[in-house]
């Protein structure tokens, strides 16, 4: 194996190899021999490890900022509380300290078939999804394409709910939707081409009255991949919901926004009945696999619970 320590972005883009930022995903794939060939260490690239605040109050987060730094930044906690909660709720303290924002967005699927050297699925040169007909209780409930394992990026889901954009060097600004595509291409976890580098994350100006909650339905108290996760952002004014954004993860091969649930909440009083009715809509459009039928209930209940946290009368 050769290790190239990149000194600048242009050099990096022109070098053949897999990028290593925090290394928490890549090193696991090296161990299981899913990743081979040269590695380009980008930890010395300048200008990517800061959170910058703009005059309008919005934040620009460098791709090399660690997940821990975002979770524990008091200004991020105040301006983008849902993002801070999602960052602080994923993985373990050790992973959050090493893992970067860019790496978290661009990590590869955690599907055990993809990560097993004996299987060649769509994502590593084959032409089938072994999870579709195999053991798949963690699989999707929105079946959007040939790959049926959920996208792993909690922060992709969070940034989708925050309508963030990302800078890709040499390409320009892209929405989170564009970063992940529509889920129909099973060969990729994101739409970046080899050699392209995500450099910054741009957030919109914060909404002063925003309340946000993040909930992760998991099989232990912490430090586990979610069964379903949900981030809700609400603005409640004069007993009416005037703004709603809902992101969900663990349910599709891309992060999703539940715009139908958002619409159902708008202009409603944030009471028990509103929350319950809106949460039921999370199941609309689901087409689960035989082993993931129960996850539809998890989806509805996770959205319901997350909404209840923010709803003063529920």
């Amino acid at each position: 194996m050769s290790l190239i320590i990149a000194q600048n972005i242009k050099e990096t883009a022109n070098t053949n190899g897999e990028l290593r930022a925090g290394g928490t995903d890549l090193q696991e794939r090296r161990r299981s021999r899913i990743s081979a060939g040269p590695i380009i260490d980008i930890r010395r690239l300048q200008g990517l490890d800061q959170i910058e605040w703009q005059a309008d109050g919005s934040a620009v987060i460098g791709a090399m900022v660690t997940i821990d730094a975002v979770a524990n930044d008091p200004k991020i906690q105040a301006a983008y509380p849902g993002l801070a909660k999602a960052a602080g709720g994923l993985a373990t303290p050790q992973i959050r300290l090493m893992g970067t924002m860019g790496g978290a967005l661009l990590q590869h699927t955690r599907c055990p078939f993809y990560r097993h050297p004996a299987y060649n699925c769509h994502k590593n040169g084959g032409d089938e999804c072994f999870a579709r007909d195999g053991h798949n209780p963690n699989g999707v409930v929105f079946d959007l394409g040939p790959c049926v394992y959920p996208h792993p990026a909690t922060l992709g889901m969070a940034l989708l709910a925050y309508e963030a954009e990302v800078d890709i060097d040499g390409v320009g600004r892209r929405s989170i939707d564009e970063l992940y595509g529509d889920g129909s291409d099973p060969t990729r976890d994101h739409t970046l081409e080899p050699g392209q580098i995500l450099t910054h994350i741009h957030l919109l100006p914060p909404i002063p009255q925003e309340k946000a909650a993040y909930f992760r339905s998991i099989s232990r108290a912490e430090a586990e991949w979610p069964i379903v996760e949900c981030l809700v952002r609400l603005v409640i004014s004069d007993d009416q919901i005037t703004f709603a954004r809902i992101g969900v993860g663990g349910v599709a091969n891309i992060p999703l926004r539940l715009e139908n649930v958002e619409q159902a909440l708008m202009s409603q009083s944030p009471g028990r009945e509103t929350v319950e009715k809106a949460a039921q809509l999370a199941a609309a459009g689901t087409n689960p696999l035989p082993q993931t039928v129960d996850k539809v209930r998890f989806l509805v209940n996770t959205v319901w619970h997350t909404l209840e946290v923010l709803s003063p009368k529920s």
Binding site: S2, Q27, T92, P93, I95, M98, E222
Partner: protein, 155 residues
């Protein structure tokens, strides 16, 4: 195979090593330096048995390349005791029964040391949050958490 000459501080002492590009920090500690207190559990960043302090922060040494440690400061479980005196955390875990098979203990001690260095008076919730990346299959965690809280009280 590319190799790299690296220097670093390990448990307060200057160290040097020649490491191949692919070698992890965990492999370097256990196989090159033969300092085997740090344990190899999952080698995938999930169990925390290999936790060490890298520049004061707890990291999974199975996920760090040895070459990344050039010029850095490392502390392993062997570096916790000083002058033949156990770290208060070690003493408390022994007395309270926070050690059974002992395989997770080095990682637990390092994560707990990072917590107490940052927050000398943690709550039970603080301790639980700091240790979520360290799996223990023996103790049920209760006595580990009690031990960390006791060590904090004694300090």
């Amino acid at each position: 195979m590319a190799v790299h000459n690296i220097t670093f501080t390990l448990n307060g002492e200057a160290e040097a090593a020649v490491v191949p590009s692919h070698m992890t920090l965990l492999q370097m500690l256990r196989e090159e330096i033969v300092m085997t207190g740090t344990k190899n559990g999952c080698a995938a960043g999930e169990c925390g048995a290999c936790t060490v302090l890298l520049n004061g922060e707890p990291v999974n040494s199975c996920l760090v390349l040895a070459v990344e440690c050039d010029g850095q400061t490392l502390v392993t479980v062997e570096g916790l005791a000083h002058d033949r005196q156990l770290d208060p955390l070690q003493q408390a875990l022994i007395e309270i029964g926070g050690v059974q098979c002992g395989f997770c203990t080095p990682g637990v001690l390092i994560s707990a040391r990072a917590l107490l260095d940052r927050n000398p008076h943690p709550t039970k919730a603080d301790v639980q949050a700091a240790l979520v990346g360290n799996l223990c299959r023996c103790t049920g965690y209760v006595r580990i958490i009690d031990g960390v809280l006791a060590a904090a009280e004694r300090a």
